[in-house]
């Protein structure tokens, strides 16, 4: 039995999510004016994702492999009421991938150095932008528990179960992109943040306290086209 092919797909692994609650006004300040912060219990959220892109496939051919990435994102509703994410930054260790993300997907991508070290079950990720700006991130994490899918109407579902992203194209075009994947399987994680100037560079500088952490071993997702709203 065969099904449709995803012309583009990415396989992600070792995904660490760090989530901070923030005031909706702080999120609104960094969003395109046509997207509304999505909130749960009147709180908006900003998340940092550290992950490895194992494969980036076009038409079933792996065109890029083993790219490290760190994303800073927040949560929005589109004007049509769909849940989506908005990327505040999307850093990758591959120059061509960064270029493709900027020009083809209109995402705020940068080419960065990332050092990922694993010792026993603990992973350390250190990111440094290559543009000379003092934008760094240091994270250590260690998964705990076992991976499960998120329960509906939970904070985890609010943060993870989204298959759309918004961005702004040329001439201020409002764009919505989509990804398709099985439900995230996540587990708790014990995580600590050591450097956060990357977040300042993304325009969010008021993240207080310990983040909520999730970890997912891997997911494969199809990447769809960007559509104007």
């Amino acid at each position: 039995m065969s099904g449709p092919l995803r012309p583009l797909s990415i396989t992600l692994s070792d995904v660490c999510f760090l989530h901070w609650p923030v005031a909706p006004a702080a999120v609104r300040a960094v969003l395109p004016n046509w997207a509304e912060p999505d909130t749960m219990d009147d709180t908006a959220w900003v998340s940092v994702l550290s992950l490895s892109i194992d494969r980036f496939d076009a038409f079933g051919v792996p065109v890029r492999e083993r790219v490290e990435s760190v994303a800073v994102r927040t949560y929005v509703q589109t004007p049509s009421g769909d849940r989506a994410v908005a990327f505040l930054s999307l850093d990758v260790t591959d120059r061509l991938v960064a270029d493709a993300l900027r020009t083809l997907f209109h995402l705020p991508a940068s080419h960065v150095d990332v050092r990922r070290r694993r010792q026993d079950s603990r992973t350390e990720v250190v990111l440094r932008r290559r543009d000379g700006a003092d934008a760094r991130l240091g994270v250590t994490f260690e998964p705990t528990g076992t991976p499960t899918t998120t329960a509906p109407d939970t904070l985890a579902a609010f943060l993870l179960d989204r298959e759309r992203y918004v961005t702004t194209g040329p001439l201020e075009t409002r764009l919505v992109g989509s990804v398709g994947h099985p439900p995230w399987r996540v587990q708790p994680a014990d995580a600590a943040v050591t450097e956060t100037t990357l977040l300042d560079a993304a325009g969010v500088d008021s993240l207080d306290g310990e983040p909520l952490a999730h970890y997912s071993p891997s997911v494969e997702m199809g990447v769809g086209v960007l559509e104007p709203l």
Binding site: P7, H181, G224
Partner: protein, 222 residues
């Protein structure tokens, strides 16, 4: 992924015709003293159906020939036209694969497939293509050392970027099941788009219902 509903239409051409079209480093692979040009449309699908709205089924259309590099036989693609704007853009941007955007429509009428493709890629030679094809016999694997095996049993492909650098990837699939087939070309600009005259030699036509295929990583040669 799966390659389904595959037409192989091949023409023998003089070795020199193909040799002068190849990037430096690739050698013409010959059978019966001829080089071969192939026109191959097929449908791409996913062997792992998932309930995602992202995936879809679509055709690819290529003009190809057969080459060796360091003694390794393979397929060399002059073009890969596909009806997916973003996939084509990423394939070109991230690995300079010779993909071109095209608008394609396919209709199945019993065992007959009618396929129309119009290249929409900016700043590329126009390609209009309209053909219908149909298997006429039972599928069977190509015999060893046969022309059919020379034309289809290839497990490496080569492409060149705009600077003539050669890339290759290995592909893995079971042997093709091939059927005799008929094809009618109402329009075919693929030869002209790659600088060839349409061959006046007799064409060899095969059809395959398809197979599962896995592509390995692309490597730069040298």
């Amino acid at each position: 992924m799966e390659w389904r509903n595959v037409l192989f239409a091949h023409w023998p051409v003089p070795v020199e015709t193909v040799a002068r079209s190849l990037p430096e480093g690739l050698s013409v692979d010959t059978f019966d003293g001829s080089a071969w040009l192939g026109v191959v449309p097929f449908r791409m699908a996913d062997i792992r159906p998932r309930g995602s709205p992202i995936g879809r089924s679509f055709y690819e259309l290529n003009l190809r020939t057969y080459v060796t590099l360091d003694g390794q036989p393979g397929v060399y693609f002059y073009n890969l036209d596909a009806d997916d704007r973003l996939g084509v853009a990423v394939a070109r941007r991230l690995f300079r694969l010779p993909y071109y955007r095209a608008r394609m429509t396919a209709h199945r009428d019993g065992s007959r497939t009618r396929l129309q493709s119009v290249r929409t890629h900016p700043d590329a030679p126009d390609v209009r293509f309209r053909a219908s094809f149909e298997p006429t016999g039972l599928p069977e694997p190509a015999r060893d050392d046969s022309l059919a095996a020379f034309l289809t049993e290839r497990y490496r492909f080569y492409v060149a970027d705009d600077r003539g650098r050669i890339y290759f990837a290995d592909i893995d699939h079971p042997p093709w099941d091939l059927q005799p087939a008929t094809v009618t070309f109402d329009h075919n600009d693929l030869f002209a788009a790659s600088g060839f005259d349409t061959p006046d030699s007799e064409r060899i036509v095969h059809f395959s219902p398809g197979l599962d295929v896995t592509a390995g990583r692309l490597h730069r040669h040298g």
